[in-house]
Amino acid sequence: MNDFLGLITYPFVYRALIAGAMISVCAAVLGVVLVLRHYSLIGHGLSEIGFASLSLSSALGIPPMYIATPSVIAASFIIIHISRKHETSGDTAIAVASSAALALGIAVSSLSGTASNMSAYLFGSVLAVSDADMWLAVVLSAAVIGAFIVLYNRLFLITYSEPYARSLGINTAMYQVIISVLTALVVVAGMRITGTLLISGVIILPAVSARIIARGFRSLVIIAGAVSLVAFIAGLGLSFVVNIPAGAGVIIANAAILIITRIFGGRP
């Protein structure tokens, strides 16, 4: 324990801690909306598109976020559009996009000789978090949480019943776009720490755990954020103790909380 606390004095550790804590909370809060709207897989699809973008930017020598941010946002629009227009093929659209993007990312990184750099993006690395990454994560997370607070009532209404929201004159398509952009920002901001393969777990697992014990939407959001924060800190500690990638530690901690919650915290 003392060793772990001692690690916090290292700049790379506190950068990861600050960035990861912010991303964990906003990912979980947004995850509540995605889980309840049956868009759980979208984070997974977007993260693999993020991986392809990172491979491309690495091969071209361009700062990763310049390509990853716009391409992930664009992909989120396309996936949501297909899901809405052809409801039964939403999961298919995500599966096609994510597998194609993953293959493209692997191909580009192999051909460009940058494959060895990619493992940090695939599985996450606290060493990869620079000062710029930390501030990007802080700003993006603050933007996501701020937007969620302002739009809380609207997101609740649309998540519960989109047709009813439309009958009140609410522009539900615009809010779907906002949800897509926020999800894309969380994926981009979180890829460095948890890895592109695991960021979707950070979005989805806390909401699933929280749903077992929450008694209303507001409590669901608060519990999901708290669960995610605890799981991140525990997972980061685990990753140092047993020397595994940070993303794996965080997801293992989230999964453990889900199992414990399922066993002891089931709703009546």
């Binding site: 609207r154 009958s167 008694r215 507001r218």
Partner: protein, 210 residues
């Protein structure tokens, strides 16, 4: 009395199948309009078209933006993690207002009280019976203080006492100038309803105005 709703020569299609054909309807402040007809006659389609949930393939719709709609079947997830109060409060939302005011909360509490669900305010909706949930949706519609209230088979699943409560609430809203359009399967089955116009439809066309 000013006009609240004007539907003119409205046509709605499901694919190539016509569901409404040349339906016209107007409502002024304080109007009570019953829409009745057999199953599949187009009653629910008409209310969805007025609510803006189905596009018109032809015709025009002009109505107040302050409208509340109680669908025949709720589209929301029955297991959705939300309390009764949270659901009722959504009825106060309008484009442009992002936060609930104190007045919104008072309207929600009053609506729950009127429909006898105050004691369930903090209960999760998944724990409610069908009839209790129906009252939640009615409270949600009422607390928005609408100028136009659309009710699709509102009496389904309600006991006699709640029928009477609903009609008492409707009389109060009509007196305050709200126009009410109510779809009902068979108007003769309902006792004590407020007086109003009856529109009978069949195969997506209006048969009679009474």
């Amino acid at each position: 009395m000013s006009e609240i709703l004007r539907l003119t020569e409205a046509y709605v299609k499901y694919g190539d199948i016509p569901a409404l054909s040349g339906v016209s309807l107007t409502a002024k402040q304080g109007d009570m309009i019953f829409i009745t007809g057999a199953n599949g006659s187009g009653k629910s389609t008409l209310t969805k078209a007025i609510a803006g949930l189905l596009p018109l393939s032809a015709g025009t719709l002009t109505r107040t933006p302050r409208m509340s709609y109680v669908p025949q079947y709720e589209e929301g997830d029955r297991d959705f993690p939300a309390s009764v109060r949270e659901i009722v409060l959504t009825g106060t939302q309008r484009p442009g207002n992002f936060f609930h005011t104190k007045a919104d909360r008072q309207h929600a509490e009053a609506a729950m009280n009127a429909l006898g669900i105050s004691g369930l305010a903090d209960s999760e909706i998944r724990t409610l019976s069908g009839g209790q949930l129906r009252r939640v949706f009615l409270a949600r519609a009422v607390c928005g203080q609408p100028e136009l209230l659309l009710l699709d088979e509102p009496c389904a699943g309600l006991d006699a006492q709640t029928h009477e409560t609903l009609f008492t609430i409707l009389r109060g809203m009509l007196a305050e100038g709200c126009a009410v359009v109510m779809v009902t399967h068979d108007i003769s089955d309902i006792d004590g309803i407020p007086e109003g116009r009856v529109i009978r439809i069949s195969a997506g066309r209006i048969l009679t105005h009474e």
